[in-house]
Symmetry: C2
Subunit: 638 residues, 2 copies
C-alpha cells in the first residue's frame, strides 16, 4: 500500500494562523466569489459564469460571456464551498450549492456532454478543437468539485452528473485519439476514480497522459483552422508543442517548460497515477521535474513561471524578480504536485515545498481581508514602471478586485479551505505528520491532536487521543535548528530519514510528543547562476520569506543594502498590519539621489533602519515599491 | 552671428583612430551597402531599395518590396557616399552616385512628387496618411543627401531634384495643415535652406515644427482608416500621440518620451531652427530635453531608448542593461542634436556628448571589419535568454549582416564619414575646437592643424598654419585631469568657461598649443534612482566606456564583482582583438555555482583576473555574455 492521504473529513484544523484564514474563506471569500459569479459585485469585472449555465439550461436568454473556460470558475467555487461546508456547516450555503448543482445538471445533454460555451454558442463544434476549447479542462474541474462535495459533505448529486460526463468522455476518447489542450481532466478523472473506484476513469486518465507527446505534431494536425468563429476568443499556436508539454512523451520529459499551470496539473496527475499504479518510470519523471523546477526555476517564495508571455517557465536560472509571472494558480498547483508526491515518498522536500507555497507564494495571492487577489506575484515592484512600461504591464502593485480570467481566486480558496488534506497521511504501520499546523486527525491507527506555534515559534505538541501500536513519523521543517524531541516529557532520540523523525511505540491515550526547535532568522542566497540575485540576499524565518515595502524604509527602495554582518532582530509589525505578524528589523544603508545621472563617486550613503514584513502580507497598505532580494554588502567593517 | 559649423570640405581628418575607420567606410561599408541596396549580397536580408526606384521610373516590372520608407536607405547611402567622396576621390563611385541620382530624377513626378512606394503601388493615396507613410521622412533624407552632395563634392543634380520636391511640399503644406508622422523633413528642409538660402524651406520646416502638438488629437482626426491597403505594412496607433511627440507643442515639451529617433530628429531640427532664428523659447525647450535625456534617460554608453516596444524612451531612471533598446540610429541622432546645440552654445556638455556617442554607443553599432551592424545596443547580454525568452527577443549577442529595417547601418556610415563636421566651428572672432581628433581645418581666421593622442593618451597639439588675430577656444574633455597648456613651449593659464579654454592671441604661422592631461581609469556610478545599476560600477578611461566579455573571464559572468579598492591597470588587448586597443585588467571575484538553488551560505568565491575591453569592440569574437555594469563590492578589507 502506498501512503494514503487522511481524508479531509477526518482532519479538523485548529490553528492560530490558519483557522482564522479558513474562517475568512468561509465567511468572506466564498460568499464574495458567489456574488462575483452571479455578477452582483458593482465595479468588479463581469463574470457571467452562473448566467452562462442558466442560458445553457434554456432558462435565460442572452449571449455567452467570458472565457471559453468560464465554467471552471463555478466548478472551483463549488469545490471550495464543499471544503467550506466541511469546515463550518451552513444550511443556506448548502442549499445554494444544491441549487447550483441542480442548475448544472439541467445543462447536461442527453449524451452526458456538459459545457455551457458549446451548448449555448457552438453545439456543432463540440470536441473539435481540444487545443483551445478547454472542454476537458472544465470537465476535470467539475469532477474535482464532485469528488470534493462527496468526500467533504456526502453530497452526491454532482457526482452523478460527473460520472455521466466521465462516461461520455470515455465513450468518445477510449478509442479515438485525444490530447487535452490544458491538462486538468487527468486530475479530475483520477479523483473520480478515488471516489467511485471505477477503473475506467483511472484508465482514461492514464490514456490521456500516455498519448501526450507521442506525436509532437498532434495539435498541428488536429487543430481545425477557425471556421469564422474563435472558440471563445481563445487563440493558441498549434505549432508550439512546448507550451502545453506535448513535445515529448510524459515519462521522457526532463525539464519544465511552457505554460506553468498546464505543466503542474500534468505533474499532479502523473504523481497521483504513479502512486496508484506503481509506474516507476512515471514516478522518476515526476521526481526529475520536481528537481528541475525547485532547483532551477523556482522563486524563493515558491512562485514559478518566469515569463508573462505564455505564463510560462523559461530557461534554467532565469528568475527576474521585477517582471516574473508567478501565477497564483501555479503556486497552488505546486502544492498539489508535491502533495501527490507524498503518496510515493515520505520525503521532507515535498512537505517543505507545500509549506513554502502555503505561507508565501500562494497566500500572497489574497489580500489580508480576503477581498482582493493577485494573479501575478512578483518579487520586486517598481511603481514607476509596473503596469506602465512594456515588459512590466502585467505587474500590479496592488491586488485588483477581480480578473477577466478569474482562475486564481477560487483556486486559492479551494487550497486554503482544504488545508486539512495536506497535513497528515498514513500507511499500514505509520502515521505521517507533514506540516506543523494545529489539527486533530482521525487515522486508522488512532486519533492524534497537534498543537503548533508555527509560523512564529518552533514548538509543536502531539497528544495521542486514542492509542495503538504504530509509528508516528514527524516531518521537521528543513529550517529547524537545535531540534529536541520529548515523549511524555522525556528527551528521546529517534531514527530519522528524509526529514522525518520516526517514533515507533505502542501509544497510549494521553501520550505526548513535544517537538522544539530554533528558527533563527535566515539569510538566503541564490546560486551564482541566477543573474537577478547576484550580490543579493533574501530573509526568512521559519516558513516565512520576508520582503521590504516602500512605506517602511527610506527611498529609493532599490538602492537599499544590508551589510552582511548586520544583526537582524524580530520586531513588531509596522502600523497598518495585523499586530501578530512577526516582522524583522535591522540597520541597513540607503543611498541618496545625486544631482548627476553618472558621476565618479559612489552614491552618498546614509545609515537607516530597515523593516521587513512577511511576503504574504505585502500590498496591504499604501501603494508602493516592494522587494524581496535586497543587496547585501559583504563589508563587515563599516 | 551664431556659431557656424566649419563646412566639411574645409576640414580634413587625419587621426590614428578615426582615419582608418573613415577609410573602412569608403572602402568597405559604402560598397557593401550599395551591393545590399542592389540585392547583390547572398544570404543577407533582401533590400530591393534600388529595384523600387527602377520600378518607379518605369524601367523594371515587379512589385515594390520593403518598408514604406525603403527609399531612405538609398538617400542615406547617397549622403554617406557624398562624404566618402570628399574623404577619398573615387571616379567609379562618383559615376555610380551620378547614375543613382539620375535614376531618382527619373522617378520624380511632373509636380515634383517623389516616393517609390506611392508611385509604384498607391499613386491615389499620396499624402493621405502622414502618420504611417513616411513620404515626408523619405523626402527629408533625400534633401539631406542633396545638401551633402553639393557641400561635400559640388554635385548639384540631386539638389535640383530636391528643390523641386521641396517646392512641391511647400505648395501643398504651406496652407494645408500637416504634421510629419516621423520627424526628418524638418532637418532636410533646413539643410536645403542652408545650401540654397531659400527662406521658403526654412519657414516650411518651422511650420511643421510649430503645428506639432497644437492639437494633440491631430493624428487621430487625420489618419484614414486603412482602405483595404496597409500603406506599406506599417501600422501605428493614431491615438498614441506621445509616440511621435505630437501630444504637446514643441516649445512646451519637458521630457523625452515615445519613439527615440523621432524625438531626437525633432530636437535636431529644433536646435538648428533656434540657432537660425534666435527663438529663445525653442532653444530652452532643446536645453530642457537635452538635460532630461542625458541626466535621466541615457545609458552610460550614450545609448538612449530603454524599451524595444516602440523603440522608445520610457520613464526617468528606467535604464535596464539587459533588455534596453539603444538603437544605433538614436545614438547617431544624439550626436546630430548635440551638434546643432553647439551652434547656440559653446558648451562642453554638447562636445562631450558627441564624443561619447562617437566612441561608444554609435561606434558599437558596427563590427570592427565594417561588415555587420547592430540595430539594438544592450549593455548586458545573457545568451541564455537573449533572442530566446520573451522580453529579450530583440537582444542579439552578435551583429547580423543586414536588417529588414535597415535604417541603422547607413545612418552610422554617414555619421562616421562626416566626422569632420563635428570637430570645429567658428564665430566672428573665435575658432572652436570641440573634439580632440586629428584634423586640419581651414577657418575664416586661419588654417589650424590638430594632432591628438586620443582616445588612448591625453595629448593634443595645435599648429597654426596661417596666422591671424583670433581666439582659439579648445574644449578640454570633462574627464581630463592635471591639465596643462603650453603655447610655443611656454606654460600658460587662460580664461575657461563651460569646458572651453579661450586663448586670445595674434597667432603666427608655426605657433603651437600643446594640451596635456591625465586620463586615469574612472569608476562611474549611477544615480541611486537607477534601479538596474544599484551596487554596480562601470569603467571608463578617456572617452571610452569598457565592458566585460565572457571569453575573457571566469563564469558565470553575471556573478563577477570588483572590490571597490581593487587597482585597475591598463593592459594589452586580449587575443582576437586589434593590438592597439587599450584594455583594462584588475583582480576581481567570481562566484562558483552551488549544488542547490537556494542556501544559507553566500556563494563560494574565487579570486580571478578580469579584463575589460572598450565597449565599441564587443561582439567581435566568440558569441558570449557581456556586461558593462559590474557589481562593486565596497569591502576594502578582504
Amino acid at each position: 500500500m502506498s501512503i494514503r492521504e487522511i481524508p479531509l473529513r477526518c482532519v479538523k484544523v485548529a490553528d492560530d494562523f490558519w483557522s482564522p484564514r479558513q474562517a475568512m474563506i468561509a465567511d468572506v471569500v466564498i460568499p464574495y466569489m458567489e456574488k462575483i459569479l452571479r455578477d452582483e459585485v458593482p465595479g468588479a469585472e463581469k463574470s457571467h459564469a452562473v448566467g452562462n449555465f442558466r442560458m445553457a439550461a434554456g432558462e435565460e436568454p442572452g449571449e455567452f460571456y467570458g472565457m471559453v473556460f468560464q465554467d471552471s470558475d463555478v466548478a472551483k467555487w463549488l469545490e471550495a464551498a464543499a471544503y467550506s461546508l466541511a469546515l463550518k456547516p451552513d444550511d443556506a450555503l448548502s442549499a445554494r450549492v444544491d441549487d447550483m448543482v441542480a442548475l448544472i445538471g439541467r445543462c447536461q445533454q442527453d449524451d452526458g456532454y456538459l459545457n455551457t460555451y458549446f451548448t449555448v454558442r457552438e453545439p456543432e463544434n463540440r470536441w473539435k478543437n481540444l487545443l483551445e476549447c478547454h472542454e476537458l479542462y472544465c470537465a476535470g474541474h467539475l469532477m474535482e468539485a464532485a469528488a470534493a462535495l462527496y468526500e467533504a459533505v456526502g453530497k452526491d448529486a454532482l457526482l452523478g452528473i460527473c460520472t455521466r460526463l466521465a462516461d461520455h468522455i470515455c465513450d468518445r476518447f477510449e478509442k479515438e485519439e485525444g490530447i487535452p489542450g490544458h491538462q486538468e481532466i487527468e486530475i479530475g478523472l483520477l479523483r473520480l476514480y478515488h471516489v467511485t473506484h471505477n477503473a475506467r476513469y483511472r484508465d482514461m486518465a492514464l490514456r490521456f497522459l500516455n498519448l501526450r507527446g507521442r506525436d509532437p505534431d498532434w495539435f498541428r494536425k488536429h487543430t481545425p483552422s477557425h471556421p469564422g468563429i474563435r472558440y471563445g476568443g481563445y487563440d493558441i499556436d498549434p505549432e508550439d508543442n512546448r507550451y502545453n508539454q506535448s513535445d515529448v512523451p510524459v515519462r521522457a520529459q526532463t525539464v519544465a517548460r511552457g505554460h506553468a499551470v498546464r505543466q503542474l496539473y500534468m505533474l499532479t496527475a502523473m504523481a497521483d497515477a504513479a502512486a496508484e499504479t506503481g509506474d516507476r518510470e512515471m514516478l522518476e519523471a515526476c521526481r526529475r521535474l520536481f528537481e528541475d523546477i525547485t532547483q532551477r526555476q523556482m522563486y524563493v517564495t515558491g512562485a514559478v513561471g518566469a515569463s508573462a508571455c505564455g505564463e510560462s517557465f523559461t530557461v534554467d536560472y532565469d528568475l527576474p524578480s521585477d517582471r516574473g509571472y508567478g501565477e497564483t494558480c501555479a503556486s497552488v498547483a505546486m502544492a498539489f504536485f508535491a502533495h501527490q508526491m507524498l503518496k510515493s515518498d515520505a520525503d521532507g522536500r515535498y512537505a517543505d515545498l507545500i509549506e513554502l507555497e502555503f505561507y508565501n507564494a500562494a497566500l500572497a495571492g489574497m489580500q489580508l481581508d480576503g477581498k482582493r487577489f493577485f494573479y501575478v506575484n512578483p518579487l520586486a515592484v517598481d511603481t514607476r514602471v509596473s503596469g506602465r512600461v512594456p515588459g512590466y504591464l502585467h505587474i500590479q502593485p496592488q491586488r485588483p478586485p477581480w480578473h477577466t480570467c478569474a482562475c486564481c481566486p477560487p483556486n486559492l480558496a479551494r487550497l486554503i479551505a482544504s488545508l486539512g488534506k495536506y497535513l497528515w497521511s498514513e500507511d499500514l504501520d505509520t502515521v505521517y505528520s507533514h506540516l506543523l499546523i494545529g489539527s486533530e486527525a482521525a487515522t486508522r491507527h488512532g486519533r492524534i491532536r497537534l498543537e503548533s506555534g508555527l509560523p512564529w515559534t518552533g514548538e509543536a505538541k502531539y497528544t495521542v487521543l486514542t492509542g495503538g501500536q504504530f509509528c508516528l513519523a514527524i516531518h521537521v521543517p528543513s529550517y529547524a535548528e537545535d531540534i529536541s524531541l520529548q515523549i511524555n516529557g522525556q528527551a528521546v532520540t529517534c531514527e530519522t530519514a528524509k526529514g522525518y523523525c520516526f517514533l515507533h511505540r505502542t501509544w497510549l491515550a494521553g501520550d505526548t510528543v513535544e517537538l522544539r526547535f530554533a528558527m533563527p532568522i535566515r539569510r538566503i542566497y541564490a546560486d551564482a547562476r541566477v543573474r537577478d540575485c547576484a550580490g543579493r540576499v533574501a530573509l526568512a524565518r521559519g516558513p516565512m520569506i520576508y520582503c521590504f515595502e516602500e512605506v517602511d524604509q527610506p527611498q529609493p527602495l532599490f538602492s537599499l543594502s544590508l551589510p552582511r554582518s548586520a544583526p537582524i532582530a524580530v520586531a513588531p509589525a509596522p502600523s497598518g498590519l495585523p499586530g501578530n505578524l512577526v516582522c524583522l528589523r535591522m540597520e541597513g544603508v540607503s543611498e541618496l539621489p545625486a544631482d548627476r545621472l553618472y558621476c565618479q563617486h559612489p552614491p552618498e550613503e546614509a545609515p537607516c533602519t530597515l523593516t521587513a514584513i512577511p511576503y504574504f502580507a505585502w500590498a496591504n497598505r499604501a501603494r508602493g515599491d516592494m522587494l524581496v532580494w535586497i543587496r547585501e554588502d559583504a563589508d563587515s567593517v563599516r
